[in-house]
Symmetry: C2
Subunit: 363 residues, 2 copies
DNA sequence: ATCGCGTGATTAAACGATTAATCACGCGAT
DNA sequence: ATCGCGTGATTAATCGTTTAATCACGCGAT
């Protein structure tokens, strides 16, 4: 039982430090920020007593004077999305490392909710925004610097994973294993991210291969939420691999197949995207492609912070999303057990898989 | 392609409205807050022009004067936890309905990280905190009002789902289906939540029944992350149902069983907790118990806001977590397909299941 | 001796809102 | 006619920090 104690925010003000040392508040401010002209020894003394007294500057006072709150807003398309924890965690880490706080807003629901959410954040004087846009939304003219995380092919995108490239990696892997008929399973073709992933996969399977795409959302419109995807039939049609656009779909496919007595990966391979929390612990563990959210977040926040620093807080410069030097972060193929050679080829290509493997359960 | 435009935060100040109407800033402030003495017609005029000019009060100015930022902090044990989206979404909704913003902080890692996270939030002058503590942490004396969401049996808990009751509901369901030997699968007995859920389950199976508990974390310490749980052997030992403390474990159990050729629910039943995102879409869809996060969040935020309003912002009253009238919110049993009568009893008790059922896939 | 200048610190204004204290004024009561 | 009082609005102080402008002072150069 650890105790957490004594974090009271009733700290001394600037003036208190000033009075303690017999100097003016301005000097203290200058000393701590390193801006004005203060003698080295004075700086040292001030630093010391500030630390000793546990001085923490009042954000409110500072914000009022400087017009900067030191807070950025994080707007997510659907906070219930299982990818959200990864994103939020990465952004929060990157932001707090740069001294920024993260205010969240959920654009659960439609685009208008997203607009409202953005508005709320702006009204709270955030210095900038990180937005993961809803499908088909374009972000423009928000009134403060904005970093957009979507997909490299979207105009206005600041930084994102190379979804297309990730699709290619998945596809190359399946191809090397010997698959020739692959079914791509996605949710909704209106999503740029999903489209890019699917496109990357297709781009690898050229002449002599066959791919088709199953979009779940339209299917569920007809057959109801959580309806079967009819994958057993697809297997009968000769499909040997199911390349899912998200681990969530992969999970759905995998359980449906296993349930139908089609063992994965012996009789059919399944791959996913995103390396969600459950992917390593299901049986068989999921082969998938992971985004480097840490790097993406770091780039997004860095670009945002740069824009914030350069910006004159007074002018309402409504501009396009900020740009980063590196807008495309490669995805990482995580090879586990859910994809293997198709049934006909099991003996022939037992060692055909690429090299990067992740073990199942060594201590 | 929707466009989001023109949300610039360069709005007019109080003084601007005042000057427009030829009154003092104080009058405007009073009119908008309804506090001082302002004539009805004046109030009306001020309201109108404020709305027309799109006035949004500066949080910084207000915060400086009142000592209230209108922001609460949300501290989560592990932001990567799949439950997080539900919690964050619910808290954000409840908070923004009460006019509060939500600043997030991740206590990824150990308790000291949690302390740091709390400290960061306090330094940002949050008015209060909602904390979902890490296992075994007790929150005390933070220096601002705190709502703790843990489990009713934990001292200092403000509000939480009735995990014990949820366990009972799951257990009653399994019992009604005819199960007599049940294996409880959890992660770590140090978690109050997990303990309560397991305890609730056990409490239902008295004389003539058998339960045992499998804790994953200790097992993985020996056998490695993502190791098999050896459930086939358990089935051979006569266990017919696996009551998992979280849907994540249920998923793991379910895939392991199916993979071993033990069909769920025909040969073994699996239940979970939390109704995580994938639970409705896997095959078979997961029978589970869901927390009413919306209500929990509403209660937590309401209690927190009440404490904030009553508090004198100047005094560093370090106190215990706030209390709510209703500290225990019932869980809801969600019956799907992953639990059914045990093999021996299939014919005998085909209709023995309780009534609340959720269909698999009707449009 | 005086001017100019660099150094180290101070003064004072400003950010935008809130609020206690004050004030002007009209009206009924003494 | 004057006092008291309620009403509606204003004044002015305050929250804590930043920063441009100012100031005192010592020192080397003219």
């Amino acid at each position: 039982m650890a105790e957490i104690t004594d974090l009271a925010r009733s700290g001394p003000k600037l003036t208190r430090i000033a009075r303690t040392l017999g100097v003016s508040a301005a000097t203290v401010s200058n000393a701590l920020s390193g801006k004005g002209r203060v003698s080295a020894e004075m700086v040292e003394k001030i630093r010391a007593t500030a630390a000793e007294l546990g001085y923490v500057p009042s954000q409110a006072g500072r914000a009022l004077r400087t017009g900067r709150t030191g807070v950025i807003g994080l707007v997510l398309p659907d906070i219930a999305n299982p990818l959200f924890p990864q994103i939020a965690q990465a952004i929060e880490l990157a932001a707090s490392s740069s001294g920024y706080g993260v205010l969240i807003a959920d654009s659960r629901g439609d685009v208008s909710t997203q607009t409202k959410a953005i508005e709320r954040l702006i009204d709270r004087d955030v210095d900038g925004l990180v937005i993961v846009p809803r499908r088909g939304t374009r972000i423009a003219d928000v009134g403060c610097p904005v970093a957009v995380i979507d997909t490299p092919s979207t105009p206005g995108n600041t930084v994102a994973a190379d979804h297309w490239g990730g699709g290619q990696q998945i596809a190359e892997h399946l191809k090397a294993l010997g698959h020739r008929r692959v079914l791509i399973i996605g949710n909704n073709p209106a999503s740029n991210v999903q489209n890019d992933r699917a496109g990357g996969i297709r781009s690898v399977f050229g002449e002599g291969f066959h791919t088709d795409t199953l979009w779940i959302e339209p299917l569920e419109k007809l057959a109801g939420k959580g309806c079967p995807l009819g994958l057993a039939k697809k297997v009968a049609e000769g499909y040997t691999a199911f390349a899912c656009i998200s681990d969530l779909h992969a999970l759905r496919a995998l359980t449906e197949l296993q349930r139908a007595g089609i063992n994965v990966p012996e009789k059919a391979s399944v791959t996913g995207f995103d390396d969600l929390i459950w992917s390593p612990v299901i049986t068989p563990a999921l082969t998938t492609a992971r985004m480097d959210m840490t790097e993406i977040a770091a780039i997004a926040v860095a670009a945002l912070v740069k824009a914030i620093r350069e910006r004159d807080p007074s002018d309402p410069e409504i501009g396009a999303p900020v740009t980063a030097e590196k807008a495309k972060v490669p995805m990482h193929l995580v090879i586990r057990q859910s994809a293997a050679a198709p049934p006909q080829l099991i003996q022939a290509t037992a060692t055909a898989a690429p090299s990067v493997t992740e073990g199942g359960h060594q201590p």
